[in-house]
């Protein structure tokens, strides 16, 4: 279970997260929607401790990280491993093949033996449908394939929560489906996921809960059907109208 309490983050006088509270139960898929600049990316980055919040507490199962006093690098690295991140721009390592990308974390961080890491990476790449592309470099892969490598790379570290920041928004429309399919499979297998996306169909079909986020705050949360068809807040209504 992931619990976020009182998360605040300010960039040079600009308060981007204004005390975020959020609970995601084990196996749940939470989709976050909201206007550009509302702080969605910043929230995910804080959960992955790529950004250090000014205040607040993160709890994942029985591990906790408090930001009221700045945690040490070691504590942050430890906590970071509980979550995995899938980036909008994939951020694959260009000097490594798909297989090496997926093996990298287990070998360097978990200190797995090479053959063990390889076996596991092959399984993961097969799972995301890239059996035939394992030995290709990122530049030889399509955007959709690259993003699936990105997902496999994050999965290889066996995170408790997987974070997705607009994983399909850099993709050509015809490639979006293959990535969403992989995410859907993960959700069905019981992966705990927090997904920032504009893919409303995905949210409807897969999310247990949708959160509308605006100006650094959670405005409203609910079951996708309820939130999309019958939002409680005026701001949510306006946002949904604009994107449909």
């Amino acid at each position: 279970m992931l619990v976020v309490e009182g998360l605040r983050k300010t960039f040079e006088n600009h308060e981007v997260l204004k005390g975020v509270h959020l609970t995601v139960r084990k196996g749940e898929v939470v989709v976050i929607i909201g206007p550009s600049g509302s702080g969605k990316t910043t929230l995910l980055r804080c959960l992955n401790v790529l950004e250090i919040p000014d205040e607040g507490t993160l709890t994942i199962d029985d591990e906790q990280l408090q930001f009221t006093t700045k945690p040490s690098k070691k504590e942050m690295i430890r906590f970071r491993r509980l979550t995995g991140m899938v980036f909008q721009a994939y951020n694959l390592f260009p000097h490594m093949t798909a297989l090496e990308n997926v093996m990298e974390g287990p070998i360097t961080v978990k200190r797995l033996k090479k053959h063990e890491a390889k076996e596991k990476a092959e399984q993961l790449l097969m799972k995301v449908g890239l059996k035939d592309q394992m030995h290709m470099y990122p530049f030889q892969l399509s955007g959709g394939q690259q993003q699936r490598v990105g997902i496999a790379r994050a999965l290889a570290m066996e995170p408790k929560v997987l974070l997705f920041d607009e994983p399909t928004s850099a993709l050509d429309p015809e490639l979006v489906g293959e990535v969403l399919k992989v995410m859907k499979d993960l959700a069905n297998e019981g992966m705990t996921m927090v997904v920032v996306t504009h893919e409303m169909r995905f949210a409807r079909e897969v999310a247990d809960e949708v959160i509308f986020f605006d100006e650094g705050m959670m405005i409203e949360r609910g079951h996708p059907e309820q939130l999309f068809t019958n939002p409680t807040h005026e701001r949510t209504r306006q946002f949904l109208q604009r994107i449909q």
């Binding site: 690295i77 970071r80 974390g105 961080v109 790379r153």
Partner: protein
């Protein structure tokens, strides 16, 4: 301006007899001196670049001062300070070690700027992807950033190496028996300065020509993962 046959024969003889000592000077001094100082220089350069990129003000400042001092003074003057200057305060260094120290410090400063720029040219997303997997700074540098920075640095570092090979001729002035000093010594006995210095120049050219071939194949190997 015809060259009479007798003189031509004399020149040919000198060219032939001097070739072996010159090549020996290159093989025993010029090339080893270049390779050793380049390796040491690269190590210094990497540490200096990391110091400049670190968040510790003192390290940053020390690295900046070092680079500024080396780049702001002539290499020949640096060599003279080490070889002729230091003995006056009781530090005497033999010609070869003095040359190694001088050239290494020089390469270290110039190459550190190349390495620093190469590290900075790697997108921020690469650091974040590595951190996201749980890597620390050292692991991220070693596994993700430096391998990519290496590719970017090969062309400018090759230039540094080629300059270094040519600059080793300055070691002749602190009594290192490298190729150019050999040429000077032989020329002093027969006064055929044009011949011997041209011969030395040709040997430098041959060495640098091979180096640029090596550079080409390294660039090709390191860019196998980039769109062509």
């Amino acid at each position: 301006m015809l060259i009479d046959p007798e003189r031509l024969e004399r020149l040919t003889n000198i060219a032939e007899s001097s070739l072996l000592p010159l090549v020996k000077g290159a093989l025993l001094y010029t090339i080893p001196l270049s390779v050793v100082t380049f390796v040491i220089g690269l190590a210094i350069a990497l540490l200096t670049a990391l110091a400049r990129l670190s968040s510790m003000k003192l390290l940053q400042w020390a690295a900046r001062a070092y680079v500024s001092a080396i780049r702001g003074t002539p290499l020949l003057v640096q060599l003279f300070i080490i070889f002729y200057g230091l003995p006056t305060i009781g530090i005497t260094i033999d010609p070869l070690p003095a040359a190694i120290i001088g050239f290494s410090l020089n390469v270290g400063a110039y190459a550190s700027e190349i390495i620093r720029a190469a590290i900075l040219s790697i997108p921020k997303g690469q650091w974040e992807a590595a951190y996201s997997l749980g890597m620390d700074d050292v692991q991220t540098l070693r596994r993700i950033i430096l391998p990519q920075a290496a590719r970017v640095s090969v062309p400018p570092l090759s230039n540094t190496f080629i300059s270094l090979v040519k600059d080793t001729s300055l070691a002749s002035l602190i009594l290192v028996a490298e190729m150019f000093r050999k040429a000077q010594e032989i020329a002093a006995t027969n006064y055929e300065f044009l011949l011997l210095y041209t011969e030395a120049a040709l040997i430098y050219w041959v060495i640098c020509f091979f180096l640029s071939i090596v550079q080409g194949s390294m660039e090709k190997r390191l860019s196998r993962y980039v769109v062509r």
